[in-house]
Symmetry: C2
Subunit: 372 residues, 2 copies
Amino acid sequence: MNENNILLEAYKQTKFKVPGHGPRDIQTLKNALNDIDGQQESDIYGKGKIIEDFQAKMAEYLGKETAVFFPSGTMAQQIALRIWCDQKGIRKVAYHPLSHLEIHEEGGLKELHHIETILLADENSVIQLEDVTGMKEDIACLLLELPQREIGGQLPGYNTLEAISAYCRDRGIKLHLDGARLFEILPYYQKSAAEICDLFDSVYVSFYKGIGGIAGAILAGEQTFTDQSKIWKRRHGGDLISLYPYIFSADYYFDQRIGNMEQYYNEAKELAEYYNQCHAISTVPLEPVSNMFHVHFDAPKEEMESILAELFQATGIGLTSNIREVNPTTSYYELSIGDLYAKIPKEELRGVFKLLDEKMKEYHTRINFTEV
Amino acid sequence: MNENNILLEAYKQTKFKVPGHGPRDIQTLKNALNDIDGQQESDIYGKGKIIEDFQAKMAEYLGKETAVFFPSGTMAQQIALRIWCDQKGIRKVAYHPLSHLEIHEEGGLKELHHIETILLADENSVIQLEDVTGMKEDIACLLLELPQREIGGQLPGYNTLEAISAYCRDRGIKLHLDGARLFEILPYYQKSAAEICDLFDSVYVSFYKGIGGIAGAILAGEQTFTDQSKIWKRRHGGDLISLYPYIFSADYYFDQRIGNMEQYYNEAKELAEYYNQCHAISTVPLEPVSNMFHVHFDAPKEEMESILAELFQATGIGLTSNIREVNPTTSYYELSIGDLYAKIPKEELRGVFKLLDEKMKEYHTRINFTEV
């Protein structure tokens, strides 16, 4: 359990941190509440000005008729798929093998909703039109995650999205958007959220990734769909008497950061270049299409932990707080650009990568020597 | 939809309000966060000091091995029943016909967990030992709600609880406590929470009833039970990245109000007496056993709305913001005593009931005259 501690401790001590918006601390909520009138009435079980106003704002932004605030995306997305399955009378959906629903939700979709899943595309690729047209079985809904987070945040071409959408409409297959990071891909596609969402029947977005809120999600679609989602929200235990702590923070940080997504995206591309110039390091995707990417090392996890911990101590700049093993000789980590990146002096940042490059070369010289 | 508005508007204008702790406004959260260090790290997916400390505190208070914080009781209780059903291999539980799970959760227990329910006792009575011993069918779990909210907050005798608990243990039936208002009944039973919880295998308590927090619940039991509950919490979409807004407020108001429960209970008894001295009004239970009770009027809902609206305007004291119909000639409302009751000058309060008594007599004189 403590194996990451060298790296985590070194990271914590750094003056500058490369990923994210800053610490996930209580100040995040305090700041969001600062200008809120204490006399304002709480939302009550999904009703009241606070929740209704934010739902209307998001429905408009996403170009959908209505929107419902949920405590989590896990809840919102299971419910979306359940509604589409019930409507079509088929308990079967399709998504990517590394979908959040498949690997991070303890099988909730199967255990609670008894929905069968078809895994489309190879783990390391995004879903293409042929994956969809090649499906033998009849499904109620196809879920697309844009970007595909577990493979570094990759995207299909926009024309592929349009083709998949047209195909699904033709066949009576509902198309659901896992837009946990939808805001973050708008600069790459050069489309509005509403334009992208128009290709989908239902859309989920999150407020604690690029937006940097506390928690919470929006599920949007036509009113007949969102009305049903409210019933399921209650069944799941998500119709809390008050959700305002999450709503205020979602709204506050949405307004603060929605305009920064292009900056984060450009910074991610710049940073990926720095990494790709280093020996035995490459990013996935090679050129990011959002504010996120994965950094792959041709070196084992433990080795990278000590190399990076030393690097952080020497430079005062922290690249990551954790490394994951791919196999005994390679490792990686995921990062997302937020507000912090712009605060790092460029000169110092270049120094970090010069040193990292040297350390990676040193390591490979050392193991090659040992192997001979 | 607007039929309650006369009453609600009159209520809002009053100087003193009889039920509750005060408005459900944003200040409730602001106050709870006031003394919290902004630098403190958020809980992350059920881990971290904030959530672990509070869970440990509640486990100790309830006398259980472990406790898990949930966003809602709806989620916590369905999960508790599911775990007990899975353990026994029987998808069947028993509870009161007016259980929260039966009437307020859109059938989540059935729709998500496919658990069959057996309704014990008459709607207007609490579950007695004979209801339990008389069950023909085998069940995995019996849920007792203490107090039984929908009938005014009634309780069985403590010896009945002990007898039911002993019977269930003998028969291998798990006993679950719906303790949404557990804190509020301790003064009546003159028992500690741990003593009562010791009769049960699993326990749910809420933090936005008598405690007056924002939302959130604790589910407590043995570690094997709570470990499974965390898996189901994730499946339900309740394992939010951060639950701290609810945890801080639960903790803050628990400390502030847990010592007031005897006061609220005594005040509820006093207030019920005032009501019962009025013409054509009676409380259920006649003598409250917690901080809550129901007030029944021998008059229709609309009539009571105008009588009470006039009363509130005349006295500046608000008794309730809503009235529910029982049938075309009778009506009732529910109330819970909190911090506000003690702030009302006793003299003025007695004046309210003197006037209410007169208005009820007037009303009955009027309708008797009309009927003749």
